[in-house]
């Protein structure tokens, strides 16, 4: 029996690493006595996985995990028990039983972000919208990043244009942060990190972004079928 659950990761808990998060869930299974399945062998560990872990410092409204259970419990019970022992900034939002044929990690191919950043260049929001739209019409937006080559890491140029689904400049918020919504590819078939995108945007559009103070929140993760996006929930 596999439960698929959607959960949040907010505020300061965005600084938990993937391993820390795994450990946190493991203790929550213990505390709330969720009948999770354990692997066989000398060092049994609970069977659960988190899809496409967030980079450190990114918040989320919708992360996905799958938990292999040894016996069935009701979904309400699962959510109640887990949320009781989870911290308030990491909570289960939804959960359902799935057949477990295809893992949620494999299903997901897009991530939807809200990005807030400070720009020091004085400019109208319309102008930012325009130059962003024009910039995104390019067939090629290159970034350089490290790639593993055998044992070594080498610098390679990569075109991120095919990894960008959609970008919408929303406007300025009350604290004068520019708010952007963006859909990027995630997973094995292509993966774009929001900070790489922001770096390229800052470089090409000369916005003078304060790169130390970019707030990123993952709003949702999506699967794709025949060109249409849908939630794995």
């Amino acid at each position: 029996m596999v439960i698929r659950a959607m959960f949040t990761k907010k505020n300061y808990l965005r600084y938990l690493s993937h391993l820390d998060l795994m450990r946190l869930f493991q203790r929550c299974f213990n505390r709330s006595q969720i009948p999770i399945k354990y692997s066989e062998g000398f060092n049994p560990h609970p069977k659960f996985s988190i899809a496409h872990p967030l980079s450190l410092g990114i918040e989320s409204e919708g992360e996905f995990m799958e938990i292999d259970l040894a016996e069935e419990i009701s979904i309400e019970d699962f959510i109640d028990k887990m949320n009781y022992s989870l911290p308030k900034d990491i909570q289960i939002v939804k959960a359902k039983y799935v057949d477990g044929d295809e893992s949620v990690t494999k299903l997901i191919s897009y991530a939807f972000y809200e990005i807030k950043l400070l720009i020091s260049k004085e400019t109208e929001i319309e102008n930012i919208e325009n130059i962003t739209r024009e910039w995104l019409k390019n067939d090629e937006i290159l970034i350089t990043r490290y790639r593993k080559k055998g044992k070594n890491k080498i610098l390679v140029d990569e075109n991120i244009k095919p990894l960008i689904g959609n970008v919408v400049v929303k406007g300025f918020d009350d604290h004068n942060f520019l708010v952007i919504n963006a859909l990027f590819k995630v997973g094995e078939k292509g993966n774009l990190k929001p900070m790489d995108f922001i770096g390229a945007m800052n470089r090409d559009l000369k916005l003078d972004i304060d790169m130390d103070l970019v707030y990123i929140k993952r709003l949702n993760l999506f699967a794709e079928e025949n060109g249409k996006l849908y939630s794995p929930m």
Binding site: L13, Y15, S17, L19, R31, F42, L56, L213, Y215
Partner: protein, 615 residues
């Protein structure tokens, strides 16, 4: 509250930012505005180390259980974080409310090892609090300290307003309640005079010291009326009924001890002559099995930890250990909660217990013979023999263990080269015990490692009169062992002798050392306990610039008539007893475990004494 945007900016740049965010399971956040007393508790080392300290969990819960008080944590920021904080101008803050440390009423440090002292100064500085007690008026928090190193508080006398000597569970609340009374009209000096009346409280500025021409202490006298000449350590009479936490904060990041920690008992009856803990925590007092089972239940429930560690100075001495372990195993086996024992003796009983708790995983076994020869083990009163080691190790091999660690000290009193080479002999003996077994019975991948630390004489031990070996002598002995080992199955590790030298200076130092500490910190010393940050050359410079003779403190054999800087503290065990033990040590005579009969250490109201008198 601190500027959170500054914090956001730097958290992304540092290693393990979760060290600085708080918000863990079972942490307590109160509205600080509503509190009578705001107490900041500091373990002056990095988060992962501090969070593994049981004492912090006890005091944190004890204080936060009171409606009028709040206790929040502050650790030493790691070097990268400190740099970012100084760059951006962010003062040090507590993990719970992200409140500046300077806005607390009291800042308390726990002194677990001498080499954390520079971190204390660094924490004060990062909090924008003046380092010297005399420079802090009513606008600053009161700075206090306790823990094992407070048994010789003098090297910190210039920095700390007052020390808490002994066990903290009762006295901390007495201090906080007194502060609450003073708060409306708080005048530092008047509060200090009042707090000095509480048993176990030592206010350094109320004492004048004078020195003899040779630099030794001549006198230490109270300089005000109503100030006690002797400070008695605080002892909890009944540890079974005393406050014990039912919750522990569960860190998000991996710490040194990621598990439930339960204290079986305080004190120790072995009387090893090098061991300070064995003397200062007397008398021995046990918790009952019922109480421990009740606590285990609550702690496992509230933390979700998968391991319960049974802690104490010598856990195999717990009277009902077998019963306790089988009850814990019965109760938690299904829930995959394991039990572990951190300290083991060299006997088959210990290994039997271990066999029971480590059913699946047989990791390495650690034994501490402490010295390489029987003669020297008698000198230090470590009651284990070569035969014990042979029995224990043979039994362990039979049961499937294959990796053995042996702990030793180098530089013990009366030590000869022959004794030192005994370290190699014991390691070789362990190797032979493994390979002399029939081939088909040799289980696992064998290794033995011998680790040697450099002996640091501590106050309130029978060796408080003894001079430490010089760094050169330590190194000569270390290489003597190292060069004698020519088998790659036998590993030899040793500690940094220069670090042990500094530790020895501060362990038995006087208040003149405050200047050295300040100078060393000014030169950039911090995190001295971490080899990558320990800067011996800076310490040497600081000694030269402050005219401090390190050898006077560390290497000198002390006269039995000498007045020590810590003699004003009454730990219950008498100086006469320590001296008697010292003399017996020099004569190679051993002293029995005091459960076999009172040895007359002087501790009042001791159950052991009661029994022996009854006999």
């Amino acid at each position: 509250m601190i500027d959170k945007q500054k914090l956001d900016k730097i958290l992304k740049k540092v290693e393990k930012p979760a060290r600085y965010i708080g918000m863990e399971q079972n942490s307590v956040q109160k509205d600080l505005e509503e509190m009578y007393v705001k107490f900041a508790f500091s373990f002056p080392d990095v988060y992962e180390v501090g969070m593994s300290h049981l004492g912090m969990h006890i005091l944190y819960n004890l204080i936060n259980n009171e409606d009028d008080f709040a206790c929040e944590r502050v650790f030493a920021p790691w070097v990268d974080m400190e740099e970012e904080m100084r760059d951006i101008g962010l003062p040090l803050f507590t993990l719970e409310s992200k409140e500046e440390v300077i806005n607390f009423d009291i800042l308390g440090f726990t002194l677990q090892y001498e080499m954390s002292y520079t971190n204390i100064l660094n924490i004060l500085d990062l909090s924008n609090i003046p380092l010297l007690s005399k420079d802090r008026d009513e606008n600053y928090p009161i700075i206090i300290a306790g823990g094992p190193c407070a048994y010789n508080p003098e090297p910190l006398a210039d920095f700390i307003d007052f020390f808490v000597i002994g066990e903290g569970e009762e006295v901390v609340l007495e201090v906080l309640n007194l502060y609450k009374e003073h708060k409306a009209n708080y005048i530092k000096d008047i509060f200090l005079e009042d707090v000095a009346k509480i048993e176990g409280i030592y206010v350094p500025k109320f004492y004048d010291v004078s020195y003899n021409d040779d630099g030794t202490l001549k006198s230490m006298k109270a300089n005000r009326k109503g100030i006690k000449e002797k400070i008695k350590k605080r002892i909890i009479k009944n540890i079974d009924t005393m406050f014990s936490p039912e919750k522990m904060i569960v860190p998000y990041i991996e710490t040194v001890h990621d598990r439930v920690s339960m204290e079986l008992f305080r004190g120790c009856t072995h009387g090893c002559r090098f061991c300070q803990a064995g003397m200062i925590y007397r008398p021995i007092r046990e918790k009952s099995v019922d109480r421990l089972m009740e606590l285990a239940d609550k702690l496992v429930e509230s933390t979700g930890y998968e391991n319960i560690s049974l802690s104490s100075l010598s856990s195999c001495d717990y009277t009902n250990l077998r019963i306790l372990i089988s009850m814990l195993m019965d109760k938690y086996e299904d829930r995959k909660v394991g039990v572990s024992l951190p300290s083991l003796r060299l006997d088959s009983f210990s290994i039997d217990v271990l066999k029971e708790i480590e059913k699946v995983r047989k990791t390495g076994l650690t034994f501490a013979p402490e010295a390489g020869s029987q003669r020297l083990r008698d000198v230090i009163n470590k009651g284990v023999s070569e035969e014990d080691l042979i029995n224990a190790v043979s039994y362990a091999f039979k049961e499937g263990w294959s990796r053995i660690k042996l702990y030793f000290m180098i530089g013990l009193p009366t030590e000869t080269d022959e004794d030192v080479l005994g370290i190699k002999d014991l390691a070789y003996l362990v190797r032979d015990l493994f390979f002399n077994r029939p081939k088909e019975e040799r289980l696992g991948n064998f290794s033995v490692s011998a680790s040697a630390s450099c002996f640091v004489p501590k106050p309130f031990t029978p060796f408080q009169w003894v001079g430490q070996n010089s760094v050169d002598e330590f190194m000569r002995k270390i290489y003597l062992v190292k060069n004698s080992i020519k088998d790659n199955k036998v590993k030899f590790n040793y500690h940094d002798a220069t670090l042990s030298y500094l530790e020895a200076i501060f362990a038995r130092g006087d208040r003149k050392l405050s200047k050295l500490l300040l100078k060393a910190w000014e030169k950039g010393c911090k995190y001295d306990g971490w080899s990558e940050y320990f800067k011996y050359d800076l310490w040497i410079e600081a000694m030269e610039e402050t005219d401090t003779d390190g050898e006077f403190y560390a290497l000198r054999d002390r006269d039995t008539q000498e007045l020590f800087p810590w003699d004003f503290i009454d730990i219950g065990v008498s100086k006469k007893y320590l001296l008697r033990e010292y003399k017996k040590a020099m004569a190679g005579e051993t002293t029995n475990d005091c459960r076999l009969g009172c040895t007359g250490c002087g501790i009042p109201d001791c159950v052991m004494r009661g029994e022996s008198v009854g006999n």
